[in-house]
Symmetry: C2
């Protein structure tokens, strides 16, 4: 029990890892713990209707652990250029340290969930990645493009970085988002100078 | 898809529902969204070793939805006296409204998860309630009794309000907590004037 308690208190630190998106109606940035909850609920709402062939429980398990490595590395906006492989290597070291607080086989089980999400090779993982990638864009669409404006992100950058993963993992969600992103571009929410 | 998007944006409000506990090392209060994530992870870490007979996926599903009604009602500290039934009736109306944003059968599925948790009659629900009740006490034990001190809570009140549910749902966890709560009392973390 000591190990589990130490583990769950270590996880508390994810509440202090801030992202670039603000919750709707709040001034502060969202953190990776509440984000993880929201996308687990998003998957739970989507799968029965739009991806019933998937294992929802497995998708939720991946989404709950997918950001835990940020306790050591911090969050990186999806639009960052370069350094992606180094960051993922650092996150892997982090999840090995953090999940390694638990006894086996649980430690390896959680690391395996994290790795499956990162690799994105299974249908469950592709769906999970689509949900994770889509959520901040949905918040931005509902929030006047908040994090896109604050970070000078262009329409094309969003389409390039968000579109392929959302379309691959949950085509119906991309069909919903694509025309709304275009409308946001027409409304001037994006940086038109950036590439 | 419109319904699911409206639902997940409505859930965003749970990030703005604050509790009485502060995340370790942070000045702000925790919110019910990040709390829901943490206890889902806590259950995931505990069940394989301490309650392998339970359906972990079902426990996690309950924990993810158990606080959603607070979007309309706000959080109430577990040590509040009276008014419990009225608050729970208001929360039920809230979860019917919020989950009712989704089509059937999903709306009823989520409401049923919330009701099972509240009733606490199944072994899965009793475990989920134990985890939910234990987590703020564990944070307090790691944080110099922060929310107990700020709210003038007595040792006996914690034992009475937290002990039975934790002991009923996860005896090994209560065995771990009980002597540590006693040590916290000896260390003077509790209000000795309150009942």
């Amino acid at each position: 029990m000591d190990e589990v308690i130490r583990f769950i208190l270590e996880l508390d630190k994810l509440k202090g890892v801030t992202r670039k998106t603000r919750p709707l109606g709040l001034d502060r940035y969202e953190n990776s713990a509440e984000h993880s909850w929201q996308i687990a609920m998003f998957a739970s709402a989507l799968v029965p209707q739009f991806a019933p062939e998937l294992d929802l429980n497995h998708v939720v398990a991946m989404l709950l652990v997918h950001d835990v490595g940020e306790i050591d590395t911090g969050d990186t906006i999806v639009f960052a250029e370069g350094g992606w492989e180094e960051r993922k290597a650092a996150e892997l070291a982090a999840v090995r340290r953090i999940f390694g607080l638990l006894p086996e086989p649980q430690a390896s089980h959680f690391v395996a969930l994290w790795e499956e999400f990162e690799l994105g090779e299974t249908a469950d993982a592709r769906f999970a990645k689509a949900i994770d990638r889509a959520m901040p864009a949905l918040l931005n669409l509902a929030n006047n493009g908040q994090s896109w404006r604050e970070n000078g992100i262009s329409y094309q950058r969003v389409v390039d970085r968000v579109g392929p993963e959302v379309a691959a993992g949950c085509p119906a969600l991309w069909d919903w988002m694509a025309p709304r992103l275009k409308a946001a571009q027409d409304a001037g929410w994006f940086n038109i100078d950036a590439g």
